[in-house]
Symmetry: C2
Subunit: 346 residues, 2 copies
């Protein structure tokens, strides 16, 4: 019998929040690299909110994962066989290996990592897709100016903590929103936020709005949107004229499938959204970081040294074992993690 | 008894669509210009959708008209007395005289008009605030590129017709939406739209969407938003990746007061709006033209010659008599006009 590897496939599409039965761990034959390809043994894989979208068959910017197909995602690991002159066994690399113990990719789809520059897990979070998302969204669409006020939810997550720290660095007042007193304390103490509100402490958007008004005495100039729902509804009326809203996600609505009328969390009707955009001259920009990889070197150059100097800090939440990836993923979707969610495989 | 003038005041705030009782014609004393001021006899006054917003006391970018206060708006007329060296009797000027037969304004708040350059009514429409709104919104936020597709509603109105003609000039496919077959024929024949759909011919957003899909085989890159409601709901799913939506108005929702949950026309929930912005990387920008008057000279320089050469055409709908302004205004809010709505006073 040939050598085996493991991966997790989408067993069935979720109806609302994913459950364990939507995933299945499988043994498959170990792939062999063809010319120009590299075989990597995964050490750490990434879990990200966008993966929830791929589980639905709603039309989106990326094709859904087919039922029975392996779950997609980024991972870092070590080369164990190479048919490319660009890599040799022992090298570390980042690539889209999915939820899997091993993977083969063309060398030009891999990013070589230097473990002397820091933990290789950073390529999944602070120096990877989430950190880059925060940096690009803040700069390209948030257009921060010293003295302004920024609000970001999921404040201790890899996107929110990047946005908050960069905005503080640029001289803004930064207010976070997070789930639970512990995360709020982390946002302030570890990431330097001026304030952080626990959204679980407020039953309604109205209550959250009252607290936000206190925390943002000069209104809100930038709302970096990654959650939607109650937070969005609380914030919209507090936006200042000429405010900016970069949208990179809306995790509170992800389990609502196609996000139609059954998305009941966040009841602000479309006319109220539209009216706020009009009467306050807001600039609202949706973006997906994969359209902007041309700016990744610029991000690395600017933020890399900040991370090295400790000006940008990061938190990781590491689960153990591929078989535990579904549970860690489901927990992350309801805020069970603290910091970038990673699964350690070896 | 001193000389008298007439104006129309807001008698009461409307509950939904305005009715005649919300307005009152009053005789008041003719004002006298102080030093630096000018007295103008109004020849034509403008009626614009934004005035509906001023009748409510909802918080907006401009203060509401107080109950008992004169209705606001732009008008053109002739100077009959001047205490400014900048104007003499007989000069023509544009100013914010409101719904009134006469008005006094400081000379620096007036724009002198040369009647030899064309009809003075142009200062209320094609060369005034509506035309400037279309030009600025299209260029600053629509960012048109040859070969793209643009959709604009109220296609024969002063904003929509400007947007459509400029976009055609820039090499775009231009599809209008208007109320009634007659207006649709005008959009195509007079303004050169590639197609125009009669929104009254479609009962639901879904039906309108099917027709739009036919009219826009390559999808929609720019939706110039001035109506909201059913049209917005029809269009959102047809927007192309990287599409742009400048928002200058939402007339279909104006009679819904604060535009809360009782705005039932357009049932697309907020999550669906947000999701479209995210997954198609849309850029949505609200704007109010009064924030951009610094670009007015640029607009005049660029579009003035196009109007003179007939490359940009315009339609006016002229009611007669100040006392008929409320009826003309109420009719305009439901699309009863064809072209820029003006009231002739003398």
């Amino acid at each position: 019998m040939s050598e085996q590897m493991q991966h997790i496939v989408l067993a069935s599409r979720p109806d609302g929040a994913p459950v364990a039965e939507n995933f299945r761990l499988e043994q498959v034959a170990m792939p062999t690299p063809a010319d120009g390809e590299v075989l990597v043994k995964v050490h750490y894989m990434s879990l990200d909110p966008y993966m929830r979208g791929r589980m639905d068959d709603a039309k989106s910017y990326a094709a859904p994962v087919p039922v029975g197909g392996p779950m997609e995602g980024g991972a870092v690991g070590q080369v164990i066989a190479s048919k490319s002159s660009a890599f040799e066994p022992g090298d570390f690399a980042f690539g889209m290996f999915g939820w899997a113990s091993h993977g083969v990719l063309p060398a030009n789809q891999l990013q070589k990592l230097d473990p002397k520059m820091g933990p290789i897990t950073a390529a999944l979070g602070v120096m990877g897709m989430p950190g880059f998302t925060g940096w690009h969204g803040l700069n390209a669409y948030g257009r921060p100016k010293a003295g302004e006020t920024l609000v970001v939810a999921a404040a201790t997550g890899p996107v929110g903590s990047m946005v908050g720290q960069l905005a503080k660095h640029a001289g803004l007042r930064v207010v976070g929103i997070a789930g639970g007193a512990e995360k709020c304390a982390l946002a302030v103490e570890t990431f330097g936020f001026d304030a952080c509100l626990d959204h679980r402490a407020y039953d309604t958007a109205r209550d959250l709005r009252v607290a936000l008004k206190d925390a943002c005495p000069d209104g809100i100039d930038i709302y970096f949107e990654n959650v939607g729902g109650k937070v969005l509804e609380a914030i919209m009326p507090l936006m200042n004229p000429f405010g900016r809203i970069p949208i990179c996600g809306m995790i509170s609505w992800y389990n609502a499938g196609g996000l139609g009328a059954d998305a009941t969390d966040g009841v602000m009707p479309a006319p109220a959204i539209w009216r706020n955009i009009l009467v306050k001259y807001l600039s609202v920009n949706g973006f997906i970081i994969s359209n902007h990889f041309d700016r990744y070197p610029e991000f690395l150059k600017e933020v890399g040294p900040m991370v090295a100097k400790g000006e940008v800090r990061f938190l990781e939440d590491i689960a153990e074992g591929l078989e535990n990836a579904p549970a860690a993923f489901m927990s992350m979707l309801t805020g069970g993690n603290t910091g970038k969610q990673i699964v350690k495989l070896v």
